[in-house]
């Protein structure tokens, strides 16, 4: 009989012996080669973690294959990372190269460590959600194919964390990423009064709009949208199926850069918009992959060792970022929401 509220399995049962023995005793780590982490314990024990890229959207056969490998090389233990990579935990150095060989045989990329591009945190897109302005897995596949070299090497100035969200709900939590790929709508919701009338709570629908663009229309028992005030966030559509926000001709992708989360050296930073719109061109989204590659190239050509993308831009100044990348600056990049004032240049000192 099913247990209610038993909670997740106890992590202790999921840890390999070498971790149980050296839990909290790790002393330092090295990165002998891309994708391989070597952690050394006070006890002298050595743990090798092999990081492997995953599409994240996988079949159960993929998981079973991982299990087979883990059984053979890792005594039946493995883990996943905060960025959806797989990590094989090898306690026997002798098994290290054979495992890597096996992974290569399966065309599974080993990398994502140190000054590398890691996996792209992403979302559902057209595969499973109702509000996407773009696909998720397809864009991610296109970008990772294009930037593959940076995953399997460590030749970037610093970590490169790319995230993707297919609508402004931002399930990819892209708001603090080195590079954020965000699906954006660009047209006000088309209102389906029928749908609104059946089962939409008008007051909360009106209240949900960040810019107050929605007014109730009591006579019609529906709402009207002041299109001039609407910036297409789609929050009303999340609330009410009757606020049809999807528009294939005008939906697409915005690119934000320069975010970070770690507190190392500099404070965490938000990603900031540098390209307000690129079209959806499946299956490979060439405009998007070109833009991303261009930014990565400019950053790695100009940044100092260990300098995250946002740290580099803040050092040289955003005005210089646009000069160096050649990305055109437009008024769309200037904030006009609540905290806009804090982004205005209240200084006479700037670069031309």
């Amino acid at each position: 009989m099913a247990k209610i509220d038993q909670g997740p399995p106890n992590y202790k049962e999921m840890l390999p012996p070498i971790i149980l023995e050296n839990y909290g005793k790790w002393r330092y780590h090295e990165i002998p080669k891309p994708g391989v982490l070597k952690h050394v314990s006070e006890s002298g024990a050595e743990l090798y973690s092999i990081r492997v890229g995953s599409p994240r959207l996988v079949s159960l056969d993929f998981i079973r294959d991982l299990c087979t490998l883990a059984d053979e090389y890792c005594d039946g233990y493995l883990r996943f990372t905060a960025r959806h990579n797989v990590e094989f935990l090898v306690s026997d150095p002798a098994k290290l190269d054979p495992l890597i060989a096996a992974l290569n045989a399966k065309n599974l990329p080993v990398g994502g460590t140190g000054h590398a591009l890691s996996n792209i945190v992403h979302t559902q897109g057209w595969v499973h959600c109702h509000t996407p302005a773009t696909d998720s897995s397809g864009v991610v596949k296109a970008i990772m194919d294009d930037l593959y070299e940076y995953f399997v090497s460590m030749k970037l100035p610093a970590q490169l964390k790319i995230s993707l969200a297919c609508c402004l709900n931002m399930c990819g939590a892209a708001h603090c990423s080195d590079i954020a790929i965000v699906g954006v709508h660009r047209t006000a919701p088309k209102i389906d009064n029928e749908k609104i009338r059946k089962g939409t709570e008008i007051p909360s629908l009106v209240a949900c709009c960040p810019t107050g663009a929605i007014r109730p229309n009591p006579k019609e028992k529906t709402v009207v949208v002041n299109e001039a005030k609407c910036m297409y966030c789609g929050n009303c559509y999340t609330m009410a199926p009757g606020m049809e926000i999807i528009n294939p001709d005008n939906d697409g992708i915005a690119i934000l850069v320069g975010g970070k989360v770690a507190n190392a050296r500099t404070n965490p930073m938000f990603s900031r918009m540098v390209i307000p719109f690129l079209p959806n061109n499946p299956p490979r989204w060439p405009e998007v992959t070109d833009a991303v590659r261009g930014i990565v190239k400019t950053w790695s050509a100009n940044a100092r060792k260990g300098e995250r993308l946002g740290e580099w831009v803040e050092r040289i100044g955003w005005e210089k970022f646009f000069t160096l990348t050649g990305i055109p600056f437009t008024d769309k990049l200037i904030d006009d929401f609540i905290f806009s004032r804090e982004t205005f240049r209240t200084s006479a000192a700037f670069k031309f």
Binding site: P8, L60, R64, W126, V127, D145, M170, P241, A262
Partner: protein, 394 residues
């Protein structure tokens, strides 16, 4: 429809990065819904739009969340996708798995679902992607047997997650895995039965590197730190120097508080303890020589979330230092007081950070009973718009 072609998706099987299309095709071999998904997705690639409708309320007995209902907007064309729901499984701390437990999930899912999954979802759950309503209860029952439980969805506590911490990291300032496990179990009711103004996320990072991205991705970020001084092993410092590391340039010059002084002759590194902001940089660069202090605990940052509605917030400091020991009573008590206040003051679909912003930090602090300290702000207010309570006046 099996004869339909999927040229666009087929193209995405090329390239070096492992392909999700290949994965869908693998699932499609065994499962009709997955086969239809392949063609539905190809249709989306042609139409440049998704083909899913809003999810209705579906779920399992005794739970208010954990399942995302999903229905296709072209059921006639894709009958097996008429309903294609998602099940969220609360993953073990730091996403460690024993293969047999993973296999159990696969077996259940092979029998009762599309065979497609996300390892993991962006919040950290293991996601079973696509099944029909009737299968939900059986799936839950069998997962439960296998020792798993559902994750959060809706206006409830979302499945907390944590960094790998002490399990495989030398920097961990507290036991992130245990804290995550303990807190998750303590608040099962909050996790499984939506009862709040909106969702609430908790993430645990063992140090200021914040590998769980807690400050950006959780309403409550628990970030490891220490109250005393970093520990420096001068022998190892010398070794780094001898191996040609430019300690002045790579470490000292990048210390945000200029708290590190390197003596080139003695090859010794000194720290001005009270100036160190515990940013982790020097420790990251010289993991063999520099270590977090001995008096360890965590800082609590509140308010992190993404864009909708008031724009993205990052968590900010509300407790500079808290010990994380025993049964985490202090943290639990704090969370309860915060939720109680949020329940009373929050509007529907208003995240805690937005509620505090609307009502004001000082009101929040005094009503929740947290003492104000300068660590909570980068800098004091620049406007003189101060509120004065009756009792402080003549």
């Amino acid at each position: 429809m099996t004869d339909k072609k999927t040229p666009q998706l087929d193209e995405l099987e090329n390239g070096k990065w492992p392909s999700f299309v290949t994965e869908i095709k693998k699932a499609a071999v065994k499962n009709e819904a997955s086969k239809e998904l392949l063609h539905l997705l190809e249709k989306s690639y042609v139409d440049k739009r998704g083909h899913w409708k809003h999810g209705g309320i579906v779920g399992v007995k005794g739970y208010g969340g954990g399942v995302i209902g999903r229905y296709s907007d072209v059921p006639e064309e894709f009958p097996h996708l008429a309903a294609f729901h998602t099940v969220r499984i609360n993953a073990p701390s730091a996403w460690f798995y024993k293969t047999d437990s993973l296999r159990k999930i696969c077996d259940i899912w092979e029998k009762r679902g599309s065979g497609l999954m996300n390892f993991h979802g962006a919040t950290g759950d293991a996601i079973l992607l696509g099944t029909v309503t009737d299968e939900l209860q059986p799936i839950f029952d069998e997962l439960s047997e296998a020792g798993f439980d559902l994750g959060g969805s809706g206006s409830d506590l979302r499945s907390p997650s944590c960094c790998v911490g002490p399990a495989r990291c030398e920097h961990a300032c507290y036991d992130t895995l245990d804290a995550c496990y303990n807190i998750t179990n303590e608040f099962q009711d909050e996790l499984h039965r939506p009862m709040w103004p909106y969702k609430f996320k908790i993430k645990f990072s063992g140090c200021a590197n914040d590998c769980a991205a807690a400050i950006a991705r959780s309403d409550c970020a628990v970030i490891g730190t220490w109250r005393d001084t970093i520990v420096i092993n001068q022998e190892e410092v010398k070794t780094y120097a001898d191996n040609g590391m430019d300690i002045q340039a790579e470490v000292c010059d990048l210390c945000p508080t200029h708290a590190l002084k390197f003596d080139h002759n003695k090859k010794e590194l000194a720290v001005i303890s009270e100036d160190c902001s515990r940013c982790m940089h020097c420790i990251n660069e010289m993991p063999k020589a520099i270590f977090p202090g001995k008096e360890r605990g965590a800082s609590i940052l509140l308010g992190g979330k993404s864009t909708i509605v008031q724009s993205a917030f990052m968590g900010w400091v509300i407790v500079p230092f808290i010990k994380l020991e025993g049964d985490y009573e202090e943290l639990k008590d704090l969370l309860r007081r915060i939720w109680e206040w949020w329940d009373e003051n929050g509007k529907t679909r208003e995240r805690i950070g937005e509620t505090i912003y609307r009502i004001g930090m000082s009101k929040f602090l005094s009503e929740v009973g947290i003492p104000a300290v300068p660590q909570m702000v980068f800098r004091p207010r620049s406007n003189p718009y101060v509120f004065w309570p009756e009792e402080e006046l003549k």
